[in-house]
Symmetry: C2
Subunit: 301 residues, 2 copies
């Protein structure tokens, strides 16, 4: 067998052929098409830094879920302690709703942080998609551009879905958790869409607070790794490629990268809530798209 990097036909094409000979999963449903492997590719590890110019369509890039240009180095210098003090009914509603949801998550998962990540990332990927869609539809109705916010929100949704893919290669969800995810999505999708319709400000504030809690959870995860309660296994290849980590990176580095992303989402969503609160139409800051530094209290002059 030739090594991955030297395969004669690009994976973008051979992948298709390989899939077609496999048994078809889930044929019971009318919405049948998902990747038949259902999991990140298990072919030998090929690091991102060997990627050719992204204009080359023949490169045998191994991931179907993302491309070299979607990878980045997480901003590990991000302020982890930042908290927006709730002021007014809207903020307090968002704050206490999140505290209420956290109570159930803590009771259910306790210290199984891998499982917690797998289940909660399926929920975390909902708000960006809902917000992006609502803003997209609104911009179309008003013949306006969004100032870059649609793309920022959709990128957040993609980023959260990548978190899910990464933690899927660390912890497999149990049957009960798979069922729970379907219920949680139905409930949270409906709730968040309704909330976004009534008050986008409250909706973005709620995500800001959800992300504050996500930082707490991933910090606890880190502590259990450092205390030896959770083995610090080698980082899965998908995480190494997605965050441009060192080839010898371990679980600890993966959790650090994830936590940095959550802090970024926190800042972007608090910023947007603050802007709506101040009746301002500022475009999305460049850093919001680029996983850079965003301070939700610094806007305008």
């Amino acid at each position: 067998l030739p090594p991955v990097g030297l395969a004669a036909a690009p994976l973008w094409r051979t992948g298709a052929r390989a899939l077609s000979t496999q048994p078809q999963p889930d044929t019971s449903s009318t919405t049948t098409i998902t990747d038949a492997t259902g999991r990140p590719d298990e072919t030998p590890y090929q690091p991102v830094r060997d990627a050719p110019p992204k204009s080359d369509p023949n490169y045998p890039w191994k991931w179907h879920s993302f491309l070299p240009e979607h990878t980045y180095k997480p901003n590990l210098n991000v302020d982890l302690k930042r908290h927006v003090q709730p002021t007014g009914f809207s903020d307090r509603f968002a704050y206490y709703t999140v505290k209420f949801l956290r109570f159930f998550a803590d009771a259910f998962f306790q210290r199984r942080y891998g499982h917690r990540a797998v289940v909660l990332e399926t929920v975390a990927a909902v708000p960006g998609m809902v917000g992006g869609m609502m803003l997209h539809l609104q911009c179309l109705r008003r013949f306006r551009q969004s100032g870059g916010w649609i793309r920022v929100l959709l990128e957040e949704a993609e980023n959260e879905r990548m978190h899910l893919m990464v933690y899927m290669s660390i912890a497999q969800p149990r049957a009960l958790e798979r069922a729970l995810v379907i219920l949680a999505q139905a409930g949270f999708f409906s709730f968040y869409t309704l909330l976004y319709t009534i008050s986008p400000k409250t909706a973005h504030r709620l995500v800001g607070y959800l992300e504050e809690e996500a930082i707490v959870s991933y910090t606890e995860y880190l502590k259990d790794i450092d205390d030896g309660r959770i083995p610090n296994i080698p980082a899965p290849p998908i995480a190494i490629d997605y965050w441009q980590l060192d080839p010898n990176a371990r679980l600890r580095d993966v959790v650090l990268a994830t936590r940095a992303d959550e802090a970024h989402h926190r800042d972007v969503n608090h910023l947007r809530a603050n802007l709506i609160k101040a009746h301002r139409g500022d475009p999305a800051p460049y850093a919001a798209l680029k996983h850079g530094e965003v301070d939700p209290s610094q806007y305008g002059s």
Copy 2:
């Protein structure tokens, strides 16, 4: 006044300040935040090829609706005559629904192709967003990746929204058309979401046929330009930047670029409908994301 390229502070920041001193539009609505200018920037034309490496956040890029890395050269060699013969109930339902919708569009707009573009692009931007969202939610529920299809569909939605921004700088929608767009979005969004829930195959086929009709309309638009019935005005700066056109490009070049995009959407959606029909889980071809050549009949081996 310094030229745009030499401004002291980047537009990503000064834009925010400038907006805050303007009167706030649309304060009657609870969903207040859209760009306060509501229109593409009217600052002097700055071509894309002068853009610095996209890693430089200080570059005074003038557009809030897209960035240099979202620009591309449209594939003008695309096959304009390609047609997928409807076979089976699903295909025929899609085909005749599109023919039925075309009847009303023709009666309403007749030869006002600029207005037709502005109104119909608000509808064209809906399917990619709905499909991308549905697939995103499905992938989360099943703990799976989509094989790149989510990104392909969301990029289609963004591309259609950019079409809208471009034609907004050519034709202003009338009051009746603005009202019509709100009704059309409510109707088409509900219809398409329901259709996508029942049969993603039929939904993608329908978009394929919609795009076949879009090609016909933009070809008629071109003919009226060539016959002198519509003046071949200079291309708006937003179109020159978005499609990397020549600085002296004219309306004709803009319509050519738009039509090439529609042909690309046609091929991508017919391909996906064909894949679902064949019960295949192939990942999205690389070219689908890159505005490259996609042949809906060529897949697998």
